[in-house]
Symmetry: C2
Subunit: 145 residues, 2 copies
């Protein structure tokens, strides 16, 4: 069981921005810091801006920053908005479900309850909690160039 890489990268972008307290971050900076593909990050950042988690500014001195305080960005909210779906099993996907058991089988409600418990834990945390080791994390950030 895994979250998609897309969600993983989205969380990492938000954690980075939660650590960075001075100025805007760039995609190049994020790509170098995490050693991950610029192309992936472009899509992730675009979507995070669309979802209202970050603000972006075009131009030479542009970049991105959190759209609100880290303590106001729930981890559960991010995961819900970045995962393409929560089709835990085939029966969750109305277009792919061919299981003959249908509603008589109780597996679906169990798996649904488990999924809600998963998201419920994440709803208790924010980006501020993820970067609670602020000092240590900030020391990892690249210094001024």
């Amino acid at each position: 069981m895994q979250l998609t890489r897309y969600t993983d990268y989205s969380l990492r972008v938000l954690v980075y921005l939660g650590m960075k307290t001075d100025g805007w971050a760039t995609i190049t900076e994020l790509a170098e810091f995490y050693a991950i593909s610029r192309n992936h990050l472009v899509k992730v950042v675009h979507h995070l801006a669309q979802q209202g988690f970050i603000n972006t500014l075009r131009g030479k001195h542009g970049g991105m920053a959190l759209a609100r305080a880290p303590g106001l960005i729930g981890i559960g909210d991010v995961v819900r908005r970045t995962e393409p779906n929560f089709h835990i099993a085939e029966c969750f996907n109305p277009t792919a479900d061919h299981c003959v058991l249908g509603p008589n089988c109780r597996l679906k409600s169990m798996l649904n309850e488990a999924n809600l418990a998963f998201l419920g834990v994440l709803d208790r945390y924010t980006i501020a909690d993820a970067v609670a080791n602020q000092g240590l994390l900030a020391s990892l950030l690249p210094g001024p160039k």
Copy 2:
């Protein structure tokens, strides 16, 4: 977020066997009932037998049956033993983790807590609970030929 098809099929095999109260089931019977590939089922059934969830009997009158009462087969146990991993994010996988944040980031412990909550819910249920609509489900089974 999804479980693998492998886990999905494993649960379905166990649910079928939990419904079937007379005699052994065959792979052909399961493949026809669920309209899923025999090849997939062969692997799933082999693994379920290895893990002690089912007994198999070779030969003309052979087949498979649950190795213990449905109420003694925990859904959480099945999912733990059939999912290839619980690498919720890259940082869970020691061989693939390249995230520079390392242990200073608290995302990993949050995701781990969420994963344990997911499995914790499934630990409260068994195959007996999944087939609690026994009468209705049994009516779906193929009759004697």
